[in-house]
Symmetry: C2
Subunit: 484 residues, 2 copies
């Protein structure tokens, strides 16, 4: 009933596409499910209600119109989402760790075991402002029967040579000040009369109280920051404290973002009839950055064949991953497919997802750089990014959690989905006053609606074997938190 993005087991996808969905449909009170021939998943539509709707319904939409899907017996050649994702994840390289200044390492994963050569704290010190003293001198002190000590001086944090105290003496100290020799306790100032020459102490804290001992936090030889730890402000604090100015980290993968299509013009150009503005190199570069990559927007691929190959080759040399948006499977842009094929094994095919069945992947050039091709339609391009590219970037970053966390939400209205396709709908998910979540689609899932996509805060994921979700039914929702 729900798509499970966290499930990377690729082998179940296709078999699940054949599962009988009558039970699911009936449970949600849908009309009798459309009868499908056993081997035909995307079949000719009945001339029933779905097609007669004045607004095209996602249910009536074939996820694909290419020759593969059209010949039902070749359905096996279509790939499940998980299978395509698995191939990509198995192929992306692990970039070599690099050493960066600690502040530049922010947000990255530590790639070394940082062993402290120092003790933290470096010396015994007062944990707070008060009086350093000897615990044995204070036994039995109370507010009613205070014990008086002679104050021999004052020590502040940062002062070098510590004094020492003997029996009956105290040293006024500030938090972080070195403990004088002979002292084994710091009496907090509020438990005293705060005298300057003599001090009346109202409590008898045991030896060791309010004293930070050298090495209490980190002893020399202790691991301070471990391999795989994400470096945030607290880790940067600790790295600085153990004296590290630089640290070895998993680098941000360098991703070249390109787009292909003779209909494309750059954003600064007014499009002629039939032309459209290149939005994908912007949107995908932004998405790649948000996922943690160092993204380079390389723009529209040239239409000159020789220049095209030159651009591709140079991007392969300088990138850990190349991302190309374009309408590859539709014919008409085979020049790009040809140019890619010359550089290595590249496979274009249909993945059972909507939007965006036309996907491509290969490893090209001398360094076998992974190249991911996504559809040129901008909504499909960003959905494909979420499904295939973001997990690949996170894998290259060394993150353990590759996929966005999903939640179950109540569908605020009926949802329909093509059988055999995993459907991703942009939606708006909200907390329900009674707990849990409610989700509403922001579009009808059929069109390149950028304005609606821009209002969405989640993707609704409807599994391959589900064709309808009734209002009130549960669906899987993937919140699209930026940077999350």
């Amino acid at each position: 009933m729900t798509g499970q993005m966290d499930d990377t087991g690729g082998s179940t996808g296709e078999s699940r596409a054949y599962r009988d969905t009558a039970q699911v449909d009936l449970r949600h009170g849908a009309a009798s499910p459309p009868r499908q021939r056993d081997t035909q998943v995307v079949g000719p539509p009945p001339t029933g209600s779905a097609v007669a709707d004045p607004v095209p319904s996602p249910r009536a939409i074939p996820g694909d119109s290419g020759p593969v899907a059209a010949q039902a017996s070749e359905y096996d050649q279509m790939r499940a989402v998980e299978r395509h994702l698995d191939e990509i994840l198995a192929a992306v390289p692990e970039p070599d760790p690099i050493e960066l200044a600690v502040l530049d390492a922010q947000g990255l994963l530590c790639a070394e075991e940082v062993i402290s050569s120092r003790a933290l704290p470096a010396f015994d010190q007062a944990a707070l402002d008060g009086y350093a003293a000897r615990a044995e001198d204070l036994l039995g002190a109370t507010p009613i029967a205070p014990i008086e000590l002679a104050v021999v001086g004052e020590s502040v944090a940062g002062a070098g040579a510590p004094s020492s105290i003997g029996p009956g003496l105290a040293l006024k100290v500030t938090a972080g000040a070195m403990l004088p020799a002979g002292a084994d306790v710091v009496v907090p100032a509020v438990w005293t009369d705060q005298g300057a020459v003599r001090v009346g102490v109202h409590a008898d804290p045991p030896a060791g109280s309010y004293v930070r001992r050298a090495g209490d936090d980190v002893a020399p030889g202790d691991p301070a920051v471990q391999v795989g730890t994400p470096i945030g402000p607290a880790q940067i604090s600790l790295l600085a404290a153990v004296g590290r100015e630089r640290v070895l980290v998993r680098p941000r993968p360098r991703i070249a973002v390109l787009c292909a299509g003779t209909e494309l013009v750059d954003v600064g150009t007014a499009p002629a009839p039939g032309q459209i503005v290149d939005v994908n190199s912007y949107a995908l570069a932004a998405a790649a950055r948000d996922a943690g990559a160092q993204a380079y927007r390389s723009g529209i691929l040239p239409s000159d064949r020789r220049r095209l190959t030159e651009v591709l080759e140079s991007q392969l040399l300088r990138s850990d991953l190349v991302l190309i948006a374009g309408t590859f499977a539709s014919g008409g842009f085979d020049m790009v497919q040809e140019a890619l094929a010359e550089l290595g094994e590249m496979r274009f095919g249909q993945v059972t997802m909507h939007p965006g069945p036309a996907q491509g992947f290969g490893r090209l050039g001398r360094d076998q750089v992974p190249v991911i091709c996504v559809p040129g339609e901008p909504v499909a391009a960003l959905v494909s990014f979420e499904v295939f590219v973001r997990p690949a970037i996170r894998l290259m970053l060394g993150k353990r959690q590759l996929f966005r966390r999903t939640v179950q939400a109540i569908a605020g209205q009926p949802l329909v989905s093509p059988l055999g396709y995993r459907q991703y709908l942009h939606g708006m998910v909200m907390r329900h006053p009674d707990g849990g979540y409610v989700v509403e689609p922001v579009g009808d899932g059929t069109e390149a609606l950028l304005a609606r996509m821009a209002r969405a805060n989640c993707l609704i994921v409807i599994d391959e074997d589900v064709t309808e979700v009734a209002a009130g039914g549960l669906v899987t929702v993937m919140p699209l938190l930026l940077g999350g």
Copy 2:
């Protein structure tokens, strides 16, 4: 029983600090609660169990040791967390919007109403691959009784001049191709026999099906991106589509991060006895970046008085906010306080929080730049950042949600907290297998434990009027997601 960070109502904090806590203590099975004089909140400790613990207990720790807290009748001069926060939030400026290239605007809030001068799509086009035709020619077509049309040609996305079709004719089209004049429907390829010269159509979709009409997404004059919208990949996609290369946004506030203390040495220097490494300028710069600011780490303030003022003045000129970590309230570094006071009204005082009661705030220089001073102890510095600085940065960014979301979690072990102080403990929050969250503190809350702080993923917030939370009790937890 729980601290409510989202509550910015400042007036209740102090009165709550006077509330009788005997009931709370008894409910949690503590020994007879310490008797407090009516006007004294931080009083001399009994020589009871808390003090006799071999490990110092947070309950026994006075949150403050300065003269203000010591004189119980002056407790009113201590400030509640909310009151200090309110003063800061009321004083931070709203930086003027700036125009940035759309990719540089990522993560910022749009500061203009972006009106589209274009229609999206710009022309009627095929929504998917198939055959453009006239709906009236297809009436009654089914797989059993297909209707044949003559294919007059093929049109791909990006092709300029559209053809036109008459009765009985079809044009093969790819998704995004201009619709030929005369056509009012696109028949998906899978609902045809995909003929090249003649095509057999198996369905009769109504007029308008699978056609994207010009302006369906955005009509000329429509608002594309509105004021206050966070700019992510989808908004960048939309901005590019309406032809915008640049956009007006709320800029990242420029924050200078400095630290004060004669005990400080730079991270590259081996500290002499009594000296400690400056970790705060690194950690706070990282935290400020994580919160969305453009942070400049300016390091340790000079000890030369003239140079000190020069550095402060130059930072005030180039910053939207100045953040200084140092142990101001403890005496010994009054030179910095003096230098700040020369530049405007600066107030140092005690805030009823632990760690980090010693806080300062003012607006200095010709431009009345806000200056926030936080304690020099690194754990207290980062806690103070969370409580006071991060909300201020988010306010300057124009974010509506200033505070981290909090959750209620079950305390995995008993927690103690000083009466009258809001206690922030670093903790590790985990999902409970049965639902909800469980939290464990990573330290005992009393010491500058950087290594433990680095393992934490949340702050546990214990309200001013709570001194003990039993294991199994609910506490407020603030997950510290990076960038979240």
